[in-house]
């Protein structure tokens, strides 16, 4: 079996400036906090980040946002990190806003070899301005192109040594989708079990999507606090 386990630092070293990066999580929940912490030490600029939010102020994805490493963020809800809004106003950050369902479907499409799909979501609103539209059965739909990335960093609950994954409660969110839509996929997990240690019927992400596995050293606590055991 190929050894897929690497350290968080080795994961961070796979990043280069200008890359497009998918980052799993709904806020901090289901976010690869250990790898994001390791990215603090990595010199890299002008990343395009695809993630529902950009973490919290100074936490998770908010760490590298604060460091000015992100040039563009594509997501659905930036309001929850006031620093992102401030940097956007100061022209230090570009933002591309998509409805959450359109964002998640565009990532799935990216992984599924579908270049574009139609959705009625946002039709007739400001978010549809400038987008190609088409009428089906008398209703207007917006054309949405798929999203892909150079690297995805995601969070799962358990990985077997081959890279099969299961998730934990609402920490699943965007992670299984991003696992399919990037050239290199790095998963941070709570626990690594031997090959065959997961029920084949309950595997959510099959191993063929996973390039590298990182043992998580971060715990999400109440009140949006994170504890690291580095």
């Amino acid at each position: 079996m190929r050894n897929k386990v690497i350290t968080a630092k080795e994961a961070a070293d796979k990043f280069t400036s200008g890359m497009t990066v998918m980052v799993g999580g709904f806020g901090l929940i289901g976010s690869p906090l250990t790898v994001l912490k390791a990215l603090e030490e990595k010199e890299v600029t002008d990343l395009t980040v695809i993630s529902n939010n950009v973490g919290e102020e100074g936490i998770g994805l908010g760490i590298i946002l604060q460091q000015g490493k992100i040039g563009t963020a594509i997501g659905s809800y930036f309001t929850s990190n006031r620093e992102a809004v401030r940097m956007y106003n100061e022209n230090k950050l570009q933002l591309q806003l998509l409805p959450q369902g359109t964002l998640s479907e565009a990532i799935r499409a990216g992984g599924a070899g579908i270049p574009a799909f139609y959705t009625s979501t946002s039709a007739g609103t400001k978010l549809a301005e400038g987008k190609e539209q088409k009428v089906f059965y008398g209703k207007t739909y917006v054309l949405q192109k798929s999203l892909k990335a150079d690297i995805a960093i995601i969070k799962a609950h358990k990985a077997d040594e081959m890279g099969n994954l299961t998730y934990y409660k609402t920490a699943r969110n965007f992670n299984p989708l991003m696992a399919t839509a990037a050239k290199t996929v790095i998963v941070e997990v709570d626990e690594i079990v031997p090959a065959g240690g997961l029920d084949p019927e309950a595997v959510i992400t099959p191993h063929l999507f996973i390039d590298h596995i990182v043992q998580s050293k971060a715990t999400l606590l109440e009140g949006r606090r994170v504890e690291y055991e580095l």
């Binding site: 709904f26 806020g27 929940i29 289901g30 529902n52 659905s76 809800y77 930036f78 309001t79 929850s80 992102a84 809004v85 956007y88 106003n89 933002l95 806003l97 998509l98 409805p99 959450q100 369902g101 359109t102 964002l103 998640s104 479907e105 990532i107 799935r108 959705t119 009625s120 979501t121 946002s122 039709a123 007739g124 609103t125 400001k126 978010l127 998730y167 934990y168 409660k169 609402t170 920490a171 699943r172 969110n173 965007f174 992670n175 299984p176 989708l177 959510i204 999400l220 606590l221 109440e222």
Partner: protein, 216 residues
Amino acid sequence: MNYKQIIAQKVASHIPQYSIINLGIGIPTLVPDYLGDSECYFHTENGMLGVSELKEEQLDPQLVNAGKLPIGEAIGASYFHSADSFAMIRGGHIDIAILGALQVDSKGRIANWAIPGKDIVGVGGAMDLLEGAKTIIVTMLHTSKDGDKKLLDECSFPITSERTADLIITERATFKWSKSGYELIEVTDGYTLEDIKESTGLQYTVSDQLVKESAL
């Protein structure tokens, strides 16, 4: 009861048993308190069906609703990823979405995601819910703190969807969407038809049924 509780209780009275419900943040989260024995199932768009009230001993930072607040897990719950969750929403599998709104207009369109002159930096799942849920119930205070109208002939804020909201429930009144536009179907005790008329900018008709009730 405070205004929010009054609204939540009124919303509950419009919800059939066994409904699949998506709750927005704010007032909607109070609705389950008023459902009594009626069995309903709660969906949260970040990836779960079977949200229940949080009990202290259940507190789990990785189990949250769309407002990122901790929740509980009901019997028969299930988890799914974001694309499957929004497939449920967009595909018409959610019976009722209960949402907050900043404005509603005579065409039944709501505005709840952006304010003119402010940066547009967040939309979340609001647009998808408006497109996909079978029934839309809007909960809101009837006017702003300063007394400005929020039920308007035309929204001055950017609309969230072309889709019409089925019910608008405020602390003062309930409006129901019909072929001819909104119909006033209920007025809270203590308010007169005149009160509603003065504080409401959107066009509506008064239900025959309501007239009878308020004549008591």
